[in-house]
């Protein structure tokens, strides 16, 4: 589903990713583990096309996306949850969640929205509140919902459990487990695999911009 | 030295809204005249080649840029022999003291403020102005309105909100008082210079019920004003006197309503005398540029000819001697004889004429009902400032 080969990226002239290789097979959930500054976010952003790689290749669903502009990802069924939430403040929660569908000009899939509300009743309750007032954790949930609505094939979740209360984090883990069952591929980053330990099929460790496979995928 | 060409620095508006109606005709006027001078083709008394036998070269600079710095550059860097130019009173005031400080022969062309020799430079040596002050425009306008029997019981004004417009209006209302017209001022509009949109001002003039309206608008502003006021019938409701109207005639022949009162800031263009020199200038200019010269071109020619006359009278290349010769000089121009009569002999006086706009049989713009006032009628005497003179009721004015 996702494959990067010798991916290299730099920010403001500093090289951050140094030939990162990662393979994510369809229907799998893989963890990307690394300490602060290891390059997790940079990797995700590069995959999303938000950062133009200096070298290497990015393949999504078999297509070479290395040079494609960022906005083409969503149409391919890729959902992204950035680590710093990034909601549109003047939109309501629901408008935020529906943004990717709007962008693609797709009809609103009510059932998928309901499914998201079911997964996270917290956000269902404040669906028509404006995003600008939400608490940090609430925003995180909305950002996850936004990724879910369009991520039918691939989800990139950047530290999805940070700042989320444990009770809810547990539920999210269950949710992601369910997604796996539905054939979605998930790449989630964490600084340590506390939360994802039982969740993932495989594990990559990133350090100083280099990715190493830690636990083989079972498939 | 003798064989070297004379370098003239000529600041005119090359950019901005004044460049079309003023900068361009001034530059054109200078160009044809200098060419003809160098070829010795100008009629007498200017048939000597160049200036005092030397060829003339011109450097045009943009008056819209920083005038003080540009003036210094001309004088100190380019080391021109004389500076001939300036249209805006503001720029004239800024460079006037500099001319004296740098001891640089300088001839101001079109700026109107009387202050130059009344307060800015009271003891001039190198600075001259060959164009008359703006006083003549306002005084002449009131006289013309009186002499043509326009009802002046209710008078309004629209002038640009800067020194030129303010002074013009002050002189105009002062003259109304001096001539005891008993006018009510119904509204005095001062829109910003280069505003371009006068819808509200025209409404104000229309609603004011004025019989006579005075405007000293010039350039693009005047043209815009005409375009916006004429279709709304302002010229039918009131007699409108446009003191610089001549500069718009060639440009808006069909839009200026017939009957509008037109001035040219002196006896230029349509108001010029029928002399060989005048006809030569008009024809040469038209042959070169396809249209007759508007008054700014005449004034530029007048300035250069004045300099030539002084230079040749001095018959020397020493600025001090040329300046001395220029003082109180009387010289011929396409607009008749000009006398450097006031401002210690550094400021020209000339008469003024007004007329009403009309299209001749061929549909070309012209003026009718022209009344001319001679120089002594509309200029203060040498020992009085313009304001004092108007305030005092034009003592010594000779209007015969």
């Amino acid at each position: 589903m996702l494959e990067t080969r010798k991916l290299e990226s730099s920010i403001a002239g500093t090289q951050i990713l140094r030939g990162a290789d990662l393979v994510l097979a369809p229907g799998r959930t893989v963890g990307l583990i690394g300490r602060n500054g290891a390059g997790k976010t940079t990797f995700m952003r590069s995959v999303m096309g938000l950062l133009r790689p200096d070298g290497g290749e990015i393949l999504i669903d078999g297509t070479d996306m290395t040079r494609e502009p960022a906005h083409t990802r969503a149409a391919m069924g890729v959902g992204y949850m950035p680590e710093d939430r990034r909601l549109i403040p003047e939109f309501t929660v629901e408008q935020n969640i529906l943004l990717p569908l709007n962008a693609l000009g797709e009809d609103i899939d009510r059932s998928r929205l309901d499914w998201i509300y079911e997964l996270m009743p917290e956000i269902g309750r404040f669906a028509d509140r404006r995003a600008l007032a939400l608490s940090g954790g609430q925003q995180k949930l909305v950002a996850l919902g936004r990724a879910l609505i369009v991520g039918r094939k691939l989800l990139l979740l950047d530290e999805p459990f940070e700042g989320v209360a444990p009770a809810l984090a547990q539920r999210l883990i269950e949710v992601i487990g369910v997604l796996r069952g539905e054939g979605l591929s998930v790449l989630l980053s964490e600084s340590d695999h506390v939360h994802s330990a039982d969740l993932v099929d495989g594990l990559y460790v990133i350090e100083r911009g280099e990715i190493e496979k830690k636990a083989a995928e079972t498939a | 030295q003798d064989g070297d060409p004379i370098e003239l620095g000529i600041p005119v508006f090359l950019s901005g809204a004044a460049s079309g109606p003023f900068g361009l005709p001034q530059q054109n006027g200078a160009t044809v005249l200098i060419e003809a001078l160098n070829a010795g083709e100008v009629p007498a008394p200017y048939d000597q080649v160049g200036i005092n036998g030397r060829q003339v070269e011109a450097t045009y600079v943009d008056e819209a840029a920083d005038p003080v710095q540009e003036y210094r550059n001309l004088v100190e860097r380019d080391e021109v022999d004389a500076v001939v130019g300036y249209t805006s009173s503001g720029n004239c005031k800024a460079v006037a003291p500099l001319a004296e400080e740098l001891q640089q022969l300088t001839v101001l062309v079109d700026c109107g403020t009387p202050q130059i020799f009344e307060s800015v430079v009271t003891d001039p040596t190198y600075l001259f102005r060959t164009g008359p002050t703006g006083t003549i425009d306002s005084v002449g306008a009131v006289r013309y309105l009186m002499d043509t029997g326009v009802d002046m019981s209710r008078v309004a004004g629209i002038n640009q909100n800067y020194a030129w417009g303010q002074d013009a209006w002050a002189d105009f209302t002062g003259s109304l008082e001096a001539l005891e017209t008993g006018s009510d001022i119904t509204t005095e509009q001062f829109p910003q210079v280069f505003a371009g949109q006068y819808g509200a001002e025209v409404s104000a003039l229309l609603t004011s019920g004025a019989n006579a309206i005075h405007t000293s608008f010039w350039g693009g502003d005047l043209e815009a004003f005409i375009l916006q006021a004429a279709p709304r019938g302002l010229f039918q409701r009131s007699a409108v006197v446009m003191t610089t109207g001549e500069a718009a005639m060639q440009r808006l022949p069909d839009e200026i309503p017939e009957g509008a009162i037109i001035g040219a800031r002196g006896p230029y263009s349509y108001f010029a005398p029928d002399t060989e020199l005048a006809n030569w200038f008009r024809e040469t200019y038209e042959a070169e540029y396809g249209n007759p010269p508007s008054y700014p071109a005449w004034k530029m020619a007048q300035a250069i000819l004045g300099l030539k006359a002084a230079w040749e009278k001095a018959d020397s290349d020493d600025p001090a001697e040329i300046a001395a010769a220029f003082e109180n000089l009387e010289f011929e121009t396409p607009a008749g004889t000009v006398r450097m009569a006031i401002g210690n002999g550094h400021q020209a006086i000339q008469g003024i004429a007004y007329g009403t706009y009309a299209l001749d049989d061929e549909g070309n713009p012209t003026v009718e009902n022209v009344i001319s006032y001679n120089a002594e009628c509309v200029n203060p005497p040498a020992d009085q400032t313009a304001a004092e003179w108007i305030e005092a009721g034009f003592p010594g004015a000779d209007c015969e």
Binding site: - | D62, Q69, E76, R77, K93, Y162, A163
Partner: protein, 313 residues
């Protein structure tokens, strides 16, 4: 990034001193250009200071005009021509205006600061244009100044103006460099970057902003006063937005590396302008615009970065 350490500043000022000596070998028109650039550079420096705090003043011309008019009115109307009194008055008047406006403006940020200061300066413009007794749009001319009772002779006047302007500019730059190392100066950048953090550290962003506004107004008043004496003329254009825009432009182009960068930037800009005007009287704005674009594209950190880069290399 902030140059935390301003103790290197005297070095730059030494550079300027050298520049001054050079001034005596320049042709007089060029030296005059430099002289006006020194005065104008002080205003641009005031703009640059405020930019440190994230405040872009599109109405700095207000203080410049106030300084100029203070000098002009005292000299031309009240007959006081002593340069020291005149300049003190210029600084005083603009500083008082800075204090009064600072109380209001220090609450504003970003574009709103820019626009409110622009509005205020344009109101002054409107008033000056209306003031017939101040020459309206034409402004008025200023008689030569005296130095403790001595009025220099026409021949040496330009030299003395130049020296005075240069010395005072150096002193002002030095004082500014000092200010930047003080608490209030150091916190400017923090205001630009994160006011919430600054508040929570116990400092008042408003006070920091207020002080920088006042310091900038004093500098600009001095600049206006010096310019008025140099050119012997003031007019309302000094407080028009186009003038202020020019200062913002210089401040940005110069970069923030040193307190004299704006002065040098101003000089360079004037040079470009003069030559462009000479080269293509009908397209000088285009040349200026192209140079501006080129500098913005090629030297994102401003002209001063050229010097910095060299030093690093």
């Amino acid at each position: 990034m902030m140059k935390t350490d301003f103790r290197r500043e005297p070095l730059y000022i030494a550079i300027l001193a050298v520049l001054l000596i050079v001034g005596f070998f320049l042709p007089s028109w060029l030296r005059f250009l430099l002289q006006t650039a020194l005065a104008g550079g002080l205003v641009a420096l005031g703009v640059a200071l405020q930019m440190r705090a994230g405040l872009v003043n599109f109405g700095q011309g207000l203080y410049y005009a106030l300084g100029g008019y203070a000098v002009g009115m005292l000299a031309a109307q009240a007959g006081i021509t002593d340069i020291f009194i005149l300049l003190i008055a210029a600084v005083l008047v603009s500083t008082v205006a800075g204090i009064v406006l600072g109380l209001l403006l220090s609450r504003y940020r970003e574009i709103f600061y820019a626009m409110l200061s622009l509005a205020v300066s344009m109101i002054l413009y409107g008033l000056l244009v209306k003031a017939a007794w101040l020459g309206s749009t034409d402004g008025f001319n200023i008689p030569p100044v005296s130095y403790l009772g001595w009025t220099p002779d026409r021949a040496v006047r330009p030299d003395i103006y130049y020296v005075t302007t240069a010395v005072l500019t150096v002193i002002a730059c030095l004082a500014t460099a000092r200010y930047l190392t003080s608490g209030a100066g150091m916190l400017c950048e923090a205001v630009a970057e994160n006011e919430i953090r600054l508040e929570y550290l116990g400092a008042s962003p408003r006070k920091v902003a207020f002080i920088v506004i006042v310091v900038a107004s004093a500098l600009s008043g001095l600049g206006g006063g010096l310019l008025a004496m140099s050119t012997g003329h003031v007019d309302p254009l000094m407080t028009n937005w186009t003038t202020s825009g020019g200062f913002v432009f210089v401040a940005l182009l110069a970069g923030r590396g040193s307190t004299i960068a704006p002065v040098i930037g101003f000089f360079l800009l004037e040079l470009v302008r003069t030559y462009a005007l000479d080269l293509a009287p009908n397209a000088w704005q285009m040349i200026l615009g192209l140079v501006m674009l080129a500098v913005i594209l090629l030297l994102p950190e401003g002209l001063w970065s050229l010097i910095e880069r060299r030093r690093k290399a």
